[in-house]
Amino acid sequence: MHAIHHTDHTILPHPTPTVWNAILNELNGKTTWWHPHNTHQPGPTGPHTTNGTTTTTIHPAGIGKPGPKLHFTSTTTHITPHHTLTQTHTGHFHGTTTYTLTPTHNNTHTLLTITFTTTPHHWPKLLHKLTNLTTKHTTATQHALTNLHHHLHHQP
């Protein structure tokens, strides 16, 4: 079975600390720019510290729409504030997500890179044989990144 391995990028016209905070806020369930495809629920210790966790629920049809949902819990394994956040995840997917932030344009912009390397488990394993989950993953991620652009643009 093929693993899912994809890297999504976007250049945001905001400095790195702003983007970093936006990611942590989303993974802590405080904002909603990854809606309608993903929601996040932090564990007792949030993802902003090593060994902290967050549980992601994937809503393939969108939040509130009927249909099965997929879940995975991510544990932060490496964190360099304002630069890198690495999480390993288990559940319906087993693998690693890495968020990398690189300042550009004299530190006024940030290149955000999200690398998702994972293998589906349980029934999503069958789903992956029937449909291209890599395409679905990147479509949802790029939708979220577009939302992130709007979210940061309207942030006071």
Binding site: H6, T7, I11, T141, L145, T146, H149
Partner: protein, 298 residues
């Protein structure tokens, strides 16, 4: 000038890995990228970005990219907006817009310090020239600082005014249907390759053309009407290689000759018997020229 038979095959010294990426432009187009690289990439070598022409996709570069990556280079190919897996975005297709897309790809995959070699075929060459000549692109420092070389394949800086009836035909459903019929599609595209192009190359060309959305085809061919980039060519200080097939009926060799003469540091390679679809007809020769250009700059 050497013939194709004399061009050596690049040394395949490295196992190649490919990774898929997606990036967004400032007008929210999603560009699909593939990076081909040796298992242990050399970060001191420039990133080589291959830009395809109208009605093609990144797969047109498959053979060239693989040969270069096996020889140790890191290669990025991407679908230009509206083509294959890339979306159209909010802004209409124009040469300037496609140059900014190239800038997004370069900015996504490299740090500002890493040099870049850009290879553009046909319409991809128009975007490459616009990017290379624009002092504001790739700020800070502009394109000039990071551009280590240009390889311009079957392309021009001006004079590509596709007639209005041809632009209309590109968007026509009837033309699309005809392209989907293999023998007829190959016949309709007969002028785009040389007389000795293999059936494999001609069929690959037809499939790429047929699978491009009619609206994209028509917008692309319309975008080069009135294009004149000659005034910016003198600003491109990086070494350049210009490749043209003597049988090119789409961008006539005289335009490549003029382009090579106008660029401050360009070498012209005219390949006998080859048509417009150089990346499909002679990928080995393109790979060889890129390899030589990169090595010469080290």
């Amino acid at each position: 000038m050497r013939t194709i038979a004399e061009i050596p095959v690049l040394p395949a010294e490295h196992a190649v890995t490919t990774t898929d990426h997606t990036t967004t432009t400032d007008d929210h187009a999603r560009l699909a990228i593939t990076v081909h690289q040796p298992e242990t990439p050399d970060p001191t070598r420039p990133l080589v970005v291959l830009v395809h022409g109208w009605a093609a996709s990144r797969t047109v570069w498959h053979a060239t990219a693989h040969q270069l990556a096996a020889a140790g280079h890191t290669i990025a190919t991407y679908d230009q907006r509206g083509h294959a897996s890339s979306t159209v975005g909010r802004e209409p297709i124009s040469i300037a817009r496609l140059a900014r897309d190239l800038d997004t790809v370069v900015g996504t995959l490299t740090t500002a310090e890493r040099p870049v070699v850009v290879v553009g075929h046909s319409g991809g060459g128009y975007a490459a020239l616009a990017w290379a000549a624009d002092p504001d692109v790739g700020r800070p420092g502009g394109a000039g600082k990071r551009l280590a070389g240009l390889v311009l394949v079957s392309t021009a800086s001006h004079g590509q005014d596709t007639p209005a009836n041809e632009v209309k035909m590109m968007g026509s459903p009837l033309f699309s249907r005809a392209l989907r019929t293999p023998w007829l599609g190959r016949k309709l595209l007969g002028q785009t390759h040389g007389p000795r192009a293999s059936l494999e190359a001609r069929e690959a060309n037809r499939r790429l053309f047929a699978s491009t959305r009619p609206q994209t085809r028509s917008a692309c061919f319309a975008s080069s009407q009135g294009m004149d980039q000659r005034s910016g060519l003198g600003r491109i200080a990086a070494p350049a290689v210009v490749i043209t097939g003597t049988e090119d009926k789409v961008v006539k060799p005289s335009f490549s000759q003029e382009l090579a003469a106008a660029l401050p540091q360009a070498t012209l390679h005219e390949v006998p018997g080859i048509g417009h679809m150089v990346p499909l007809e002679i990928p080995r020769q393109v790979a060889h020229q890129v390899h030589q250009l990169v090595l010469a700059g080290r």
